[in-house]
């Protein structure tokens, strides 16, 4: 499959690296040739210099036989026009674009085949906002992933040494849940190592645990797994960019929100949109300001500027001054590995989130959603089981009978309104949304094939 990526920025380059390693044919277009050269030195891709929306550039990148175009340049307009050109002139089957401006996104009728033919819109700000919102919604969670329109969720928590689950086998953890609440641990990371969760696997302190449950059960499960975590009331957001503003709007009146913005003009604009939050003008690393605003009573501090270093440093200051939990946007994976779990509770990578969202579309075989875990080390996949016992390799079979590729486990099933945890004898029915965790990325294509409906399969 041939994919053209427009823009070799953080998302474009990251996507190119991940996809090229999975044997896709990748061409990357950017006007900055030195950036392309660096990228070509690292992975086997074709770099094409030039304006991303100009037909001659696209031709040089081989758009005529491309299966997909992913427009992630820094300009919304270039991305949109490139998709339009790919559709109108070259009939490129799939077109994905990143569009940031909410003004465009609020008019969904725009992005239809008759107007601007984009199949999938990616809005990193929206994705990051939702991601952080989940973290505030569930204190203690490090990552929250939605499946089947949010009916089921997968939550990552760090097993603190005083947590009731530490030292117990997973079977016991499932049994201690209150009646009517079902959950299942689907993945376990010990350090960098992925551990396949079995019934008798014992949870150790500092393990990263991913569990799956129905959305309405999540608070109760969280309550059982990590006691002593108080709900969040006071939130401080540092940085009044798009993410800061959207997050403040989303948090609304349910929380006490304080937002710090450096520029007076920008602060004025945000303040007009925000009914409940208090907008402060100042430097987010100014300890006096933080103290005056009661940082020691803040439940969660979120550093949301677009500068990695500023985010990390201001979060460290906030933590030292007494913020209970700090969440930081960090784009560089190296930084994220360095600080997460030590000085900073959660490092959120917009790049990784965006790439994860793009990946969902790359996957074939009825895969509906893909989430990337541990910065791409593993993937949580939601696939729809289609066909019947004759044409599908999953439908009509008990989970124990399905031949999964190595490293993959079925975590649960969403059947209509119900969320079922996977048991060995659970039978997959047509229309089920199956949630799978894959820790070995090289076998992911096998997983895709598993969910393909084939007329010839007997």
């Amino acid at each position: 499959m041939k994919i053209i990526i427009l823009g070799a920025g953080q998302v474009g380059a990251g996507l190119a690296v991940s996809l090229a390693r999975e044997n896709y044919d990748i061409s990357v277009v950017d006007h900055d040739e030195s950036r392309l050269r660096q990228l070509q030195d690292r992975v086997d891709i074709q770099g094409v210099g030039g304006h991303a929306a100009h037909p001659p550039t696209l031709l040089r990148a081989g758009i005529e036989d491309a299966d997909m175009i992913v427009a992630v340049t820094s300009s919304d307009e270039v991305n949109m026009v490139a998709c339009q050109i790919a559709y109108s002139l070259y009939n490129t089957p799939t077109r994905i674009a990143r569009v940031r401006a909410a003004e465009y996104l609020e008019t969904p009728n725009l992005f239809t085949r008759e107007h601007i033919p984009i199949d999938l819109l990616i809005s990193p700000e929206q994705l990051v906002t939702d991601h952080i919102y989940h973290l505030i919604e569930y204190p203690g969670a490090l990552q929250v992933l939605d499946f089947a329109d949010g009916q089921a969720q997968m939550v990552a928590i760090r097993a603190a040494s005083d947590s009731p689950m530490v030292g117990h086998p997973l079977r016991a953890v499932a049994e201690q849940m209150p009646a009517g609440v079902e959950t299942r641990v689907v993945a376990l990371f010990r350090g960098e190592q992925a551990v396949i969760p079995e019934g008798d696997t014992v949870i150790e302190a500092d393990d990263l645990v991913f569990f799956l449950a129905a959305r309405r059960d999540i608070p109760r499960v969280m309550n059982e797994l990590c006691r002593n975590v108080a709900p969040i009331k006071r939130v401080m957001l540092a940085g009044g960019g798009n993410i800061g503003e959207r997050l403040a709007v989303k948090l609304g009146g349910d929380y006490h929100v304080k937002l710090i913005e450096r520029s007076t003009e920008r602060a004025k604009v945000i303040a007009e949109h925000l009914e409940h939050a208090i907008v402060l003008v100042g430097d987010c690393a100014d300890s006096e300001l933080l103290r005056d605003e009661g940082i020691d009573r803040i439940d969660i501090y979120c550093a949301l500027t677009n500068d990695d270093e500023a985010n990390i440093l201001s979060s460290m200051v906030a933590k030292r001054l007494g913020a209970k939990k700090v969440v930081t946007i960090v784009n560089r994976p190296v930084y994220a590995d360095l600080v997460e779990g030590q000085q900073i509770d959660v490092a959120v990578s917009p790049r990784q989130i965006t790439i994860g969202a793009l990946f969902a579309r790359m996957r074939r075989g009825n895969v509906v959603r893909v989430h990337s875990l541990r910065r791409g080390a593993a993937e949580a996949i939601e696939a729809e089981a289609k066909g019947d016992a004759g044409t599908s390799r999953v439908v009509g079979r008990a989970i124990a009978e399905i031949e999964l590729p190595p490293g993959a486990t079925i975590g649960g099933i969403v059947r209509g309104e119900k969320v079922l945890m996977a048991h060995r004898q659970t039978t997959i029915e047509p229309g089920d949304h199956v949630i799978i965790l894959a820790t070995e990325k090289r076998h992911i294509h096998d997983l895709e094939h598993l969910f393909e409906v084939s007329a010839t399969y007997v």
């Binding site: 041939k2 044919d25 061409s27 050269r37 070509q40 030195d41 086997d44 891709i45 074709q46 770099g47």
Partner: protein
């Protein structure tokens, strides 16, 4: 550089070289000549050595670093050059020494075409085929071939490709994957060779001559099965076919690829380098023709045009076929042909020399400097076609130009020091550095009479020219080996 990885890569190339020696063995078997056992022996020997070197390192899985590409490519060329010399040394007819065999093999592989063999008509067909095959493999690059056919080189293939491909901008790929690019290049190369072979056969060559000459035409190598080269055939049609395919061999294969994929001739017309290349060919042919008439070598215009056009195309593309001994021609003609080969073919072609694009860049830079004298505030942007060239590329070309001239000077002095006369030493270095083949002076008819030291220097010059200097010279710098 990890020695195990190097061992693994080189042994794979040795295996490839060993397998390829069974082809001349097959020819020798068909023609029932004396070289059959030699090629079987040397081919099996190479396979054995290759396998022995490969076995201990077979499990090595390490990525090639950027700088490792140079070492691997340079060593591959040396190793394959030596492997090609093995059967030549072992042959009873002709009886040649080790240095001569290496010279012949490297001259083939680098598509130079300078020969130490006299009386080619009497040589076993197996050997003639072996020489032509070496040239054909060296034309598009044996490492590029390895990248195309060996899946294990998929990772790090670009580093190798870059160290072997001629031209100033080395990272242009035709397809997203380097292995596919290498495959596309070899497919085009193979198809053009096939076409050339059929044309030669239709024009009257025997199948054997058609195959070997097609090999040495497309690779712009210039080995022939006859001492008199193309003049042996005395056929206008064959000369015209040779002119067409030598010209094609001197064009960037990326342009062939575009023309093939779009099924149109427009890419040739649009590419500024190809246009300059064609213009230069015509201008040089015209100058040569006029001089041939002027000096009375051939007073009739049509015959002079036939001689001039063929010789201009053959030398500028660095092929080195001859239809007349131009080293005996009067006036400026001999030195003229030696000078035009310095321009050479296009980047990414099988042609030698400094490449048309570099000359264009140097020329444009010079013009822009003159312009700067008149308009001190001019932006000084160099354009090729409608696109500005990065200043980095231009500085690199200037550096290349300096080293090229310096190598030429130093090697000429060295050759002169071995006792050769001035004309011979300068022209021999020029012809080897540009991978042309024919020379002037003592080396005019062939290189057999040169001393062994001179031949060794020329072997180095040929490798230097084919690998575009940097690939080989970078290995001789201490900085390359520090923290390696």
């Amino acid at each position: 550089m990890n020695p195990n990885l190097l061992c693994r890569l080189l042994s794979l190339l040795l295996l490839l070289a060993g397998v390829l020696q069974f082809l001349p063995a097959l020819i020798a078997w068909v023609y029932d000549d004396s070289s059959f056992t030699t090629f079987i022996l040397s081919g099996s020997g190479l396979l054995l050595i290759g396998a022995a070197a490969w076995w201990p390192a077979r499990r090595v899985r390490i990525d090639l670093r950027l700088r490792d590409g140079f070492l691997v490519v340079a060593l591959s060329w040396i190793v394959i050059g030596l492997a090609g010399a093995l059967p030549i040394v072992m042959l009873k007819v002709p009886q040649v020494g080790v240095v001569d065999a290496i010279f012949e093999s490297v001259s083939g592989l680098t598509t130079t075409g300078a020969t130490v063999l006299i009386g080619l008509e009497a040589m076993p067909p197996g050997l003639l085929f072996h020489r032509a095959l070496l040239q054909w493999l060296g034309g598009m690059g044996i490492v590029v071939l390895a990248v195309a056919v060996l899946p294990m080189l998929r990772i790090g293939g670009l580093q190798l490709y870059r160290a072997e491909m001629p031209g100033p901008v080395k990272d242009s790929k035709l397809t997203p994957r380097i292995a596919d690019t290498a495959k596309a290049l070899w497919t085009i190369y193979f198809s053009l060779t096939l076409l050339c072979m059929l044309a030669y056969h239709v024009a009257g060559m025997s199948w054997f001559d058609a195959v070997t000459h097609a090999f040495t035409t497309l690779s712009t190598g210039g080995y022939s099965n006859y001492d008199a080269s193309i003049a042996h055939f005395q056929s206008l049609l064959i000369e015209l076919i040779a002119i067409v395919f030598m010209t094609l061999g001197g064009i960037n294969f990326a342009i062939h690829f575009l023309a093939w994929r779009r099924a149109s001739l427009v890419p040739y017309q649009q590419d500024p380098e190809v246009r300059t290349y064609m213009t230069l060919l015509l201008v040089f042919a015209a100058i040569a023709t006029a001089a041939i008439v002027f000096y009375g070598v051939e007073p009739h215009w049509p015959s002079a045009l036939r001689l001039g056009l063929f010789q201009a195309v053959s030398t500028m593309t660095s092929t080195g076929y001859t239809t007349a001994g131009f080293y005996l021609w009067p006036g400026f003609l001999p030195i003229f042909f030696i000078f035009i080969v310095f321009i050479g073919g296009c980047a990414g072609s099988t042609g030698g020399g400094m490449k048309v694009i570099r000359i264009m860049l140097l020329y444009k830079q010079a013009v822009s400097e003159i312009q700067r004298v008149i308009h001190p505030a001019s932006a000084g942007i160099i354009r090729i076609g409608s696109r500005a060239v990065e200043s980095r590329v231009i500085t690199a070309v200037w550096g290349y130009f300096f080293i090229y001239v310096a190598s030429f000077a130093i090697l000429s002095v060295l050759l002169n020091a071995t006792g050769l006369d001035l004309e011979t030493s300068f022209s021999a270095v020029a012809t080897c550095l540009t991978n042309l083949g024919p020379s002037l002076g003592v080396a005019g008819p062939h290189f057999a009479d040169l001393n062994a030291v001179a031949k060794s220097v020329l072997v180095f010059a040929m490798l230097l020219g084919r690998l575009e200097i940097f690939t080989l010279l970078v290995l001789l710098t201490p900085a390359y080996w520090k923290d390696a």
